[in-house]
């Protein structure tokens, strides 16, 4: 399958170079009871060719973050600050996605940035057959001609495990899993730089989940596409992500390599999250979960937003918001791959950066 994909579209170059830099992004909502700060100062960097997972539970703001990234924020939501810098392959200065409008935004959509929504959501036009959807998208957003596009479609569908007869069907005749795969095929066709997958396996039948997960991995491996994977399901991150960013209460609390997040989570919230995942097989041990309740975006706790639920809470936690800093292992010189944590447990006064004593 890997070789077939590469026949259809060109594999991307520039693996490892920066693709996206989100700086201090704030997305707020106007409510009758005050301002809801759903995303409150998010910093995130993405490199080409990696799958970055964004993990977090309901109310953490990850859906708001996704819609802001795709410029789909609707009133009463609004961008309250920050920037999203997108580095395109052509050697230009990075684009601030938040500054784009109209034509420029349409040019970026699909060509550079495509969206894979939740399984049962309709990203597909209900009155067009699948063939026409493909043509619509391909002719609009790329330089592929109509005849060439028509030839590509069956191959693209085969890559996502769909039979050719799907070409003439309407979206409502397809199951959720099939629609997911059609949208994936479109992303492949256009060779988008970045695919934002929002809960790609939720609401799908379980046997389709594995296919979707494997396909997303394929996009990265054979085509060098970059994927932002947003899901609350930690097992999906374990299977798919290269790095994971853990989100809580509107901000990022930890970013690290997927192995590090699962084996040696640093932030108490991440630890609680990992300690909430039941597994099949092995000794049956009691999991502890995380006590307390999710805070409300209209009224975030002071200082570190996790402090009401944290077992290691200290006085400084209630007063100061811990910044997201690199944890530097004493014996490692390479700062590149060190995890980022926002927690006072790891900051010592008088020294730059965080230190991990474990």
């Amino acid at each position: 399958m890997a070789n077939d994909l590469a026949k259809v579209v060109q594999k991307k170059t520039g693996i490892g170079s920066p693709l996206l830099d989100i700086e201090d992004l704030k997305v707020y909502y106007n409510t009758v009871n005050g301002v809801s700060k759903a995303v409150d100062g998010v910093n995130l960097s993405l490199k080409r060719g990696e799958i970055l997972g964004i993990a977090g539970e309901s109310g953490c703001g990850k859906s708001t973050l996704t819609t802001a990234l795709l410029r789909l924020t609707q009133p009463p939501g609004y961008i309250a600050g920050g920037s999203i810098l997108f580095h395109t392959a052509e050697e230009q200065a990075p684009l601030d996605l938040l500054e784009l409008g109209g034509e420029a935004l349409r040019a970026v959509r699909w060509r550079h940035l495509s969206y894979l929504p939740q399984g049962s959501m309709n990203a597909l036009n209900p009155v067009l057959r699948i063939k026409e959807q493909f043509l619509d998208v391909m002719l609009e957003h790329s330089k592929i001609g109509k005849r060439e596009a028509l030839k590509m479609i069956p191959t693209l569908l085969a890559q996502v495990n769909l039979e050719p007869y799907v070409i003439n069907m309407y979206p409502h005749e397809l199951s959720g899993g099939m629609k997911q795969r059609v949208v994936l095929a479109m992303a492949i066709a256009l060779n988008s730089d970045l695919v934002v997958a929002d809960e790609p396996t939720t609401a799908l039948d379980v046997h389709v989940q594995r296919i979707i997960i494997q396909m997303l991995a394929d996009l990265r491996d054979s085509l060098g596409m970059t994927v932002i994977l947003v899901t609350h399901d930690m097992a999906v991150h374990a299977q798919l992500a290269d790095r994971v960013a853990v989100m809580y209460a509107g901000g990022i609390v930890e970013v690290g390599d997927v192995h590090q997040i699962f084996k040696t989570p640093k932030h108490p919230y991440t630890r609680g999250l990992i300690n909430s995942i039941p597994r099949i097989g092995g000794e049956r041990i009691r999991l502890d979960g995380i006590g307390g309740n999710t805070p409300s975006p209209r009224n975030w706790p002071s200082g570190c937003r996790f402090h009401p639920r944290c077992q290691h809470v200290m006085p400084v936690c209630k007063q100061e918001v811990p910044p997201l800093l690199q944890v530097v292992h004493r014996h490692s010189l390479d700062g590149e791959h060190q995890p980022l944590v926002a927690c006072h447990l790891y900051s010592q006064p008088g020294l730059g950066g965080n230190h991990d004593d474990e």
């Binding site: 909502y29 106007n30 409510t31 009758v32 009871n33 009133p75 009463p76």
Partner: protein, 292 residues
């Protein structure tokens, strides 16, 4: 009880439109409730509606803010009194049709099956039959019409609308988990309808009532303008009829025509405002700011 007040208060706070609508309606209701002392005030002790006491066809002046009619009756007093009668008809017809409609809706929606099919078809018949021509025919045949019988007549034609909306809501609520929990906790059908479903449907029933009442008022006005209403009760529709019959406009007595029209328009406007405001509150996508 406090829950009701809190709910109304939060409704009040949530939408400017609802506020304006409620203010207008409350103003008219107060006027209607106080129509006797107001009439006395206007008449300065004498009955402003007595025939041939004051000079007829006066233009608006200090003594008669809206002038007088053909028989010298103060137009403002007529408007206030007429408003009362119209509202009375509206309330009675509204109440009656709401009660009938609600009962039918609950029985049909909760029981489902054949009962629902039968009742829904029954409702549909009333919806399909053109009500106004039928009303005219019925009104033409009844000789001694008083307020209450007119109200009953009007109710007969307005209950299906409420029934439809409420039935749809009952259908959506009856499969909620808390209804299943109630069944498992051995609540019987009556208890479930009255304790579980009814409280959650009060907003719909309230709005249904307001719409039915307004619809009835306008139906009556329609009848009276043609001359088929109860001619012995002074209400807004009758004023319109008189203004037409006497050629008031050509005589320059605009108030007797304009006053009822303005009042009716404002009533209609206020109920619509409340409707739209409530819809914005309940349908988040229409809102400019998000609710709680």
């Amino acid at each position: 009880m406090d829950r009701f007040l809190l709910a109304i208060l939060s409704l009040w706070r949530s939408s400017r439109k609802v506020q304006v609508g409620i203010v207008i309606m409350v103003f008219f209701i107060l006027l209607a409730l106080l129509h006797t002392p107001i009439a006395a005030l206007i008449g300065h002790g004498t009955d402003p509606l007595e025939i041939s006491v004051n000079a007829p066809w006066q233009q608006p002046n200090i003594q008669h803010w809206l002038g007088t009619d053909r028989y010298g009756r103060d137009v403002l007093a007529m408007t206030v009194t007429g408003l009362t009668a119209s509202l009375e008809v509206g309330v009675i017809a509204g109440l009656l049709s709401t009660v009938i409609g609600t009962v039918v809706a609950f029985v049909a929606g909760y029981m489902g099956g054949k009962v629902d099919s039968f009742l829904s078809s029954f409702t549909d018949v009333f919806l399909v039959v053109p009500s106004f021509p039928l009303l005219i025919t019925l009104a033409a045949y009844t000789n001694n019409v008083n307020l209450v019988s007119v109200a009953v007549l009007l109710a007969v034609f307005s209950w299906p609308f409420a029934a439809r909306t409420i039935r749809a809501q009952v259908l959506s609520l009856r499969s909620r988990p808390y209804v299943e929990l109630a069944k498992v906790t051995r609540m019987n059908a009556f208890e479930i309808i009255f304790q579980e479903l009814l409280p959650n449907l009060l907003p719909f029933i309230g709005v249904g009532f307001a719409n039915a009442a307004l619809g009835s008022i306008f139906a009556l006005v329609g009848l009276e303008v043609i001359g088929l209403g109860p001619g012995n009760v002074l209400d807004l529709g009758l004023m319109l009829n008189w203004s037409q019959a006497w050629g008031a406009l050509s005589l320059g007595a605009w108030a007797i025509f304009v006053a009822p029209v303005v009042v009716l328009a404002l009533l209609f406007f206020s109920v619509n405002l409340i409707n739209i405001g409530l819809e914005e509150v309940y349908n988040p996508r229409l809102r400019k700011t998000a609710g709680a």
